[in-house]
């Protein structure tokens, strides 16, 4: 067993310290963390009500250095409360480090850190878009991937800030008019192909439409101005906050300030040249996008020999 676990309890502060240094934790520690996290997350509602001030984070996609940069810009936990809107894994190099750190922070500060499920927090997606390959490359097997994806089934679907701001990863669903309908969803499972749970993590706003439309993503819907207005009215709220889509400036505000997209992966895929942001919701309800660029470590970082891409199997 690792020195991080003794008598069944995990030394979270040491784990967090090591993770900030981007050290890989032992498989047994990750397994224990996921088990603990499931015990914590199972108690959370499908709709968690929290209070501002809170800083809201969009897609990270394994860009670990940029997550640390985000903390530098927005304050390290627990000095700043954070709400993460999902898509922690896939595409970037450090999905494992990102996900392990966020899990530790959630366990250490359960009422200051909230983790919402994104469409990539699923077996089907993360098997194909990098997380699975990364687990195989860094641990030599997929146990860690199994532990994390089992834990993903426990992540909440939505958060409401001060009864005013509705937060999800993707967007609205034609099957969800009132947030009470979210509360009754059985969320403890792989994200289905359709239905309210799929829509909440997959849908996108369409600024040119009024109603729901077919999404070309193959899951979820597009939703327009009228749908947003109606949803906010029925649920007596003022704003919808979501992630899920790349934004050149790190954020985008639509529908007369009724919906925001927050995006937290700068220079996405090393090519997009986009900015990132963290949305700070103040105690009085004001929203401020704190914009940041790619972390300097990205330039300095040199890939060690230990990592091998599983795609190279094709060339053996």
């Amino acid at each position: 067993m690792s020195d991080l676990i003794s008598g069944g309890s995990i030394d979270l502060d040491s784990c967090i310290e090591r993770l900030y240094r981007r050290e890989k934790l032992a498989e047994s520690v990750v397994e224990a963390l996921c088990t603990k996290a499931k015990e914590l997350l199972i108690k959370e509602s499908n709709v968690i009500h929290i209070k501002a001030p809170v800083s809201v984070v969009g897609d990270i996609h394994g860009q670990f250095f940029d997550l640390i940069e985000l903390f530098r810009v927005g304050g390290f936990p627990p000095n700043t409360n954070y709400l993460f809107l999902g898509d922690y894994v896939d595409r970037g190099y450090f999905s494992i480090e990102t996900m392990t750190l966020l899990t530790c922070l959630k366990l250490r500060y359960p009422n200051r850190i909230y983790l919402v499920r994104g469409n990539h927090e699923s077996r089907g997606i993360s098997q194909n878009y990098g997380f699975y390959s990364e687990c195989k490359a860094k641990y030599g097997n997929v146990n860690v991937w199994n532990c994390f994806t089992d834990m993903f089934d426990y992540l909440t679907l939505s958060v409401v800030i001060d009864d005013r701001i509705f937060c999800i990863h993707g967007g609205l669903s034609p099957n969800v008019h009132s947030i009470d309908q979210i509360k009754v969803v059985d969320r403890f499972k792989e994200i289905p192909h359709e239905g309210p749970m799929a829509d909440l993590v997959w849908s996108d706003p369409d600024p040119e439409k009024e109603d729901f439309g077919i999404s070309t993503r193959g899951a979820g819907y597009t939703f327009g101005a009228e749908i947003v207005k109606k949803f906010l009215h029925v649920n007596d709220m003022v704003h919808i906050l979501r992630a899920h889509q790349l934004c050149e400036q790190g954020f985008q505000v639509l529908f007369d300030d009724r919906l925001s997209t927050v995006w937290s992966a700068p220079n996405y895929c090393y090519r997009c040249g986009n900015l990132a942001s963290v949305l700070e919701v103040s105690a009085t309800g004001e929203r401020f996008f704190n914009v940041f660029d790619a972390a300097p470590e990205n330039e300095e970082y040199r890939q060690q020999q230990e990592q091998h891409n599983t795609m190279t199997e094709y060339f053996l």
């Binding site: 889509q245 050149e248 090393y270 090519r271 091998h308």
Partner: protein, 378 residues
């Protein structure tokens, strides 16, 4: 893959002839759930895609991309002219300023104009070749689908696959071969058409900031493309192996990365051809980017990505440690079958029509055996 393939009979096996009563129809999506993939892999459409991958790979082997259209088949020049026209329309539709999420909305204007141009020009090509005009919509749909997504303002390997299908459609309908002189498409012809396409698409991606569609990030080959790597490695395979194969008893190792990527000489073979490790040399990339598709694609990556190559493109970096192009090529084909043709999110958008790529079980006996690598999904 080393045994010679009889391309003419392979082609006949997958596309015997155009029946006089052929019923063309606009392609429709048929892959709705992931279970449909299995049937897809048994269809005539799939057999034809496999044929095309093998066909282009065989013909471009040891061939440089031509620097101009001089001497190429008239049919090839007509198709290339369509692609050049689409690139020309980009100049007429500059990106617009103003708030936007990511992709530039002017792309939609370009796309709709491109669609109109395609329908007109493909119609003209078909008419000139006295193929029934009924073929126009079915064929043109593949080129339109190869422009990227007008809803999502993104571009990925699914769109690129549609271009392969469009090229195949032109080939099957006899729009490329010169029937009078009995000359069929050469490697130069193929490289010219594909290089015009990639040139146009890269211009579109950079001008209108198209998003990578469903990129695998550092865990994938490239955010947008796969085919230029197959074509480019096919161009280079075969020469070194022939001379060095006997001496190189040790198996090529994937993990044998070049320790310091700077010494240009070892990146070139004694036959004056770049080795897979040459992707680390800007000098060699610049020398070969016009004549070789692989290096053309690598040059584009250097143009659009920031940071060290091994960091932003680790799969390509790992491939640079493979010793022979023939291994690179066969690996890329396997990867294409698994990661593009084997993936629901990619092929769910592929259209199946009445004649070119039918959603029907492929029946021709013995033809599948000639299909080379086949499907190796993991």
């Amino acid at each position: 893959m080393t045994e010679p393939i009889d391309l003419a009979s392979y082609r006949k096996a997958v596309f015997p002839h155009l029946p006089p009563d052929a019923r063309f129809s606009a392609p429709e999506k048929r892959i709705h759930i992931s279970e449909d993939l299995r049937f897809f892999h048994s269809t005539t459409a799939y057999a034809r895609i496999q044929f095309l991958l093998n066909y282009v790979s065989e013909l471009v082997s040891k061939v440089d991309a031509p620097g101009s259209a001089d001497g190429l088949l008239p049919g090839v020049q007509s198709v290339a002219a369509v692609l050049d026209r689409l690139a020309g329309v980009v100049d007429e539709v500059p990106p617009v300023s103003g708030p936007r999420r990511f992709g530039n909305p002017a792309y939609k204007t370009w796309y709709h104009r491109a669609e109109t141009e395609i329908l007109t020009m493909v119609g003209e090509i078909i008419e000139a070749r006295s193929v029934t005009l009924d073929a126009k919509d079915e064929l043109a749909a593949y080129l339109i689908a190869a422009l990227g997504s007008v809803q999502r303002l993104d571009f990925g390997t699914g769109h690129e696959l549609s271009f392969l299908a469009f090229f195949g459609g032109c080939l099957f309908l006899g729009l490329l071969d010169d029937e009078k002189s009995g000359t069929s498409v050469s490697g130069e012809d193929i490289l010219w058409i594909f290089s015009r396409y990639f040139k146009m698409v890269r211009k579109v991606i950079t001008t209108y900031s198209l998003e990578p569609a469903g990129s695998h990030g550092v865990w994938g080959l490239d955010d947008h493309f796969h085919l230029p790597y197959i074509l480019g490695s096919a161009q280079l395979r075969g020469v070194e192996e022939k001379f060095e194969g006997e001496n190189a008893a040790a198996k090529p190792k994937v993990s044998s990365r070049p320790s310091r990527p700077s010494k240009a000489p070892s990146m070139m073979s004694v036959y004056g051809m770049p080795r897979p490790s040459a992707v680390m040399s800007m000098e060699i990339i610049n020398d070969f980017k016009e004549k070789n598709m692989y290096f053309g694609a690598i040059a584009f990556i250097y143009q659009v990505k920031k940071g060290p190559f091994f960091e932003h493109s680790p799969v390509l970096y790992d491939i640079s440690g493979v010793q022979y192009w023939v291994k690179v090529h066969s690996g890329l084909l396997k990867m294409y079958n698994a990661e593009v043709l084997g993936k629901f999110p990619v092929v769910q958008h592929f259209g199946f029509g009445g004649v070119l790529y039918p959603w029907a079980e492929f029946a021709a006996a013995g033809a599948a055996a000639a299909g080379g690598t086949g499907d190796k999904s993991r």
